[in-house]
């Protein structure tokens, strides 16, 4: 055990001191923030895009101007009436105004409304403006045609429709299309995280084992430690580095949720809850051990990194399949195929995690999934240790599958 500690420490240091690791650990939360929070941030307060700059407006009749001013002041954006179109465009170009909305003479019937901006990408802003203009134009036309506006409103009002997510224990949760997008986003982020980290760490272990062979350090290592200490030292060392990374990420998520979120007046997607974060870490750990052991065995059986890459393909397929199926996972989380994939150990870390996020899988399925995963991890570790013990000393030729299978049976 004491020797294992040194191997773990060495491998941990080697990984954690790596520049790529530090960058990914620090940038990870920002990437997650960008993918998960930014869209809702922008949707909730489009004014953030304007950062206090006013909107220039020309040619709007007084009621329309009032409606626009009311809408935009709600976003913290002032509306300034301008007369000189050229000057207004210049002010947009030099950045002192966020955009310039010009209503040509004869609007809404014979004239156009034009939104001038530097990028044309402030979708939240101009769709708000467009909505206000549409409503104003509709109302003006209704009044013109002599129909009672109250009658029109009644005719056009949509019937009510609700989506409710049923949870065990009787909790009912209203779901709209917004919350579906939120769930999809959360699933996407979590699934990508698991996929990337499991694959990344697996490959690091595989490479680390191959390096042991190609650098020919293995013999001197084996003169000091047992082969299984070397293998598990590598896996645990890198696993610790992975856990450290997850700890940083999860605490960043908590910080965002608890402090930064309320500060900016926005909420994180509901999917990023404590329970779900725990599931994320649990499935990362299990997935990590499963794929790392498999990669350690593959590394020991390969001749060089290129060979490892070829041999790892079938394994990677099992990680990619759930990614390809992500929309199915979210839309029909309880279909037979998805249930099977959420129990099969090589796909379950990703698929079951997605199911947990989207629906409430039966407890027995969760328990079975975890039991199968733990059993698979143990089985793979034992097999890998056997393949590792023989394979790590084999150099100079690519072993055939039959040969590898024989290593497993060596006492």
């Amino acid at each position: 055990m004491s020797r294992l500690r040194y191997v773990i420490r060495h491998e941990f240091r080697l990984t954690a001191a790596n520049k790529a690791f530090v960058i990914l650990t620090i940038l990870g939360p920002f990437l997650i923030f960008a993918v998960s929070v930014l869209p809702s941030l922008l949707a909730q307060s489009p004014g953030a895009v304007a950062s206090g700059k006013p909107l220039a407006l020309s040619g709007a009749p007084p009621p329309v101007e009032q409606a626009l001013t009311a809408t935009f002041s709600g976003m913290g954006i002032g509306v300034e009436r301008v007369d000189d179109a050229a000057a207004a465009k210049d002010s947009v170009l030099d950045g002192s105004r966020i955009a310039f909305l010009s209503l040509e003479a004869g609007w809404p019937d014979s004239g156009k409304a034009v939104w001038y901006s530097k990028s044309g990408a402030e979708i939240a802003l101009y769709s708000a403006a467009s909505a206000v203009l549409e409503a104003a134009a509709r109302e003006a036309r209704i009044v013109e045609s002599g129909v009672d506006p109250a009658l029109v409103a009644k005719v056009l009002s949509p019937p009510s429709f609700e989506v409710i997510k049923l949870d065990k224990g009787g909790a009912e949760e209203a779901r709209g299309s917004d919350s579906f997008v939120e769930v999809l986003m959360t699933v996407l982020v979590f699934v990508m995280l698991i996929y990337m980290t499991v694959l990344l760490y697996g490959q690091m272990i595989g490479r680390s084992v191959v390096t042991e062979k190609t650098s020919k350090t293995v013999e001197i290592m084996l003169s000091s430690v047992k082969s299984q200490d070397l293998m598990f030292g590598k896996i645990l060392g890198l696993g610790l580095a992975g856990l450290l990374q997850y700890a940083v990420w999860v605490s960043m998520a908590f910080l965002l949720k608890r402090f930064v979120g309320p500060l900016l007046g926005l909420s994180l997607p509901a999917g990023i809850s404590t329970g779900n974060l725990v599931w994320l870490v649990v499935f990362f750990i299990l997935g990590f051990f499963l794929y790392s052991s498999a990669y350690a065995a593959l590394g020991a059986a390969s001749e060089d990194e290129q060979h490892l890459g070829q041999m790892a393909w079938p394994l990677i397929m099992f990680l990619i399949v759930p990614l390809v199926m992500i929309s199915t996972l979210v839309t029909s989380p309880d279909s037979t195929l998805v249930v099977i994939l959420s129990l099969f150990p090589l796909t379950s870390p990703i698929v079951m995690l997605a199911r947990v996020l989207v629906s409430s899988p039966p407890v027995w399925q969760l328990a079975l999934c975890l039991a199968l995963l733990v059993a698979a991890v143990a089985g793979t570790a034992v097999l890998a240790a056997k393949i590792f013990r023989v394979g790590i000393l084999m150099t100079g030729k690519r072993p055939k599958l039959k040969e590898v299978l024989r290593w497993v049976t060596v006492k």
């Binding site: 004491s2 020797r3 040194y6 191997v7 060495h10 080697l14 390096t211 650098s215 020919k216 350090t217 013999e219 001197i220 290592m221 084996l222 003169s223 000091s224 430690v225 047992k226 000393l393 150099t395």
Partner: protein, 290 residues
């Protein structure tokens, strides 16, 4: 296929023991079994009288034939790591590593990456990795391969020094001359089997018929045909002649008169190489350097 079979030998505390044989004789396989890197199908390895345990490995330093250190890591860090997994304490191995680096002129490389080292430097670094934790037993598998003659002499001196400090030194080589210079006892092996085993002095005495080393100008091919000559090892400018048991070297000297221009005529104990050639046969001996 058997690489090694029916081998039995012991190295005594504080001696320099040589495991000698041509390429492919099974030397490395034997050392790997001793180091418990591969398991023998049958037989036991004993250390201080009891079966070799994992804990015993800490007292052993090992220089494998296949050289290599983590290329991307810094030299000092690799050496400290390898000493640490031998169970040594930092207070012991840090000064020891510095001393060895200084001794081999590698101090300024301590904080450089291993891949920047030249081949000879890497070889020395590997040697340091074997001895930095002050082991009481060291195994060097072909320690001289890849070293220039100066470095070979330096290493020979270090090995003698280790012995003087009380360490047991085992090393394998196919270069007889090195073994002859420093070994007290040897195991000569070929094709995985023992050829001869014992102290250098005993072996020389046992197989030590009188031999003559001869330097000359001319064609010495007739010497092998003389009836009191047992065998001859020929080199371009000198030969080593092994006389039959009762023959007098003087007879050889007389036979040479007038047929060769003799520059040096010296009766010697036979070289290890000569003994090996006699025991194993000429063809096998081709692999072995004198």
């Amino acid at each position: 296929m058997q690489a090694v079979a029916g081998l039995s030998f012991e190295a005594r505390p504080g001696e320099i023991f040589g495991l000698i044989g041509p390429n492919g004789a099974g030397k490395s396989t034997t050392i790997r079994m001793i180091m418990n890197i591969i398991a023998p199908d049958s037989g036991t390895i004993r250390f201080d009288g009891s079966p070799l345990s994992e804990a015993d490995k800490d007292r052993i330093g090992y220089l494998p034939e296949e050289r290599g250190l983590y290329r991307k890591a810094k030299l000092g860090e690799v050496l400290e790591y390898l000493a640490a997994i031998k169970g040594a304490k930092p207070a012991l191995y840090r000064p020891s590593i510095d001393a060895w680096l200084g001794r081999f002129g590698l101090s300024e490389w301590k904080h450089r990456k291993v891949q920047e080292l030249s081949k000879g430097m890497a070889q020395k670094a590997q040697f340091i990795a074997a001895v930095a934790h002050n082991p009481s037993v060291v195994f060097f598998d072909e320690p001289f391969s890849g070293l220039d003659p100066l470095a070979q002499d330096e290493l020979l001196a270090v090995m003698v020094e280790l012995k003087q400090k009380g360490a047991t030194v085992l090393f394998s080589t196919h270069i007889m001359e090195h073994a002859e210079k420093i070994c007290e006892r040897i195991l000569l092996m070929d094709k995985g089997k023992e050829v001869v085993y014992g102290s250098m002095a005993d072996i020389k005495a046992r197989y030590g018929r009188n031999a003559v080393q001869l330097e000359f100008d001319g064609d010495a091919s007739f010497v092998a045909g003389l009836d009191f000559v047992e065998s001859v090892v020929s080199y371009p400018r000198w030969i080593e002649v092994e006389m039959k048991d009762d023959a007098d070297p003087d007879a050889l000297f007389r036979a040479l008169a007038g047929r060769l221009r003799v520059r040096r005529f010296e009766t010697v104990a036979p070289s290890l190489h000569k003994i090996f050639v006699r025991l194993v046969g000429g063809e096998e001996a081709q692999n072995v350097q004198a």
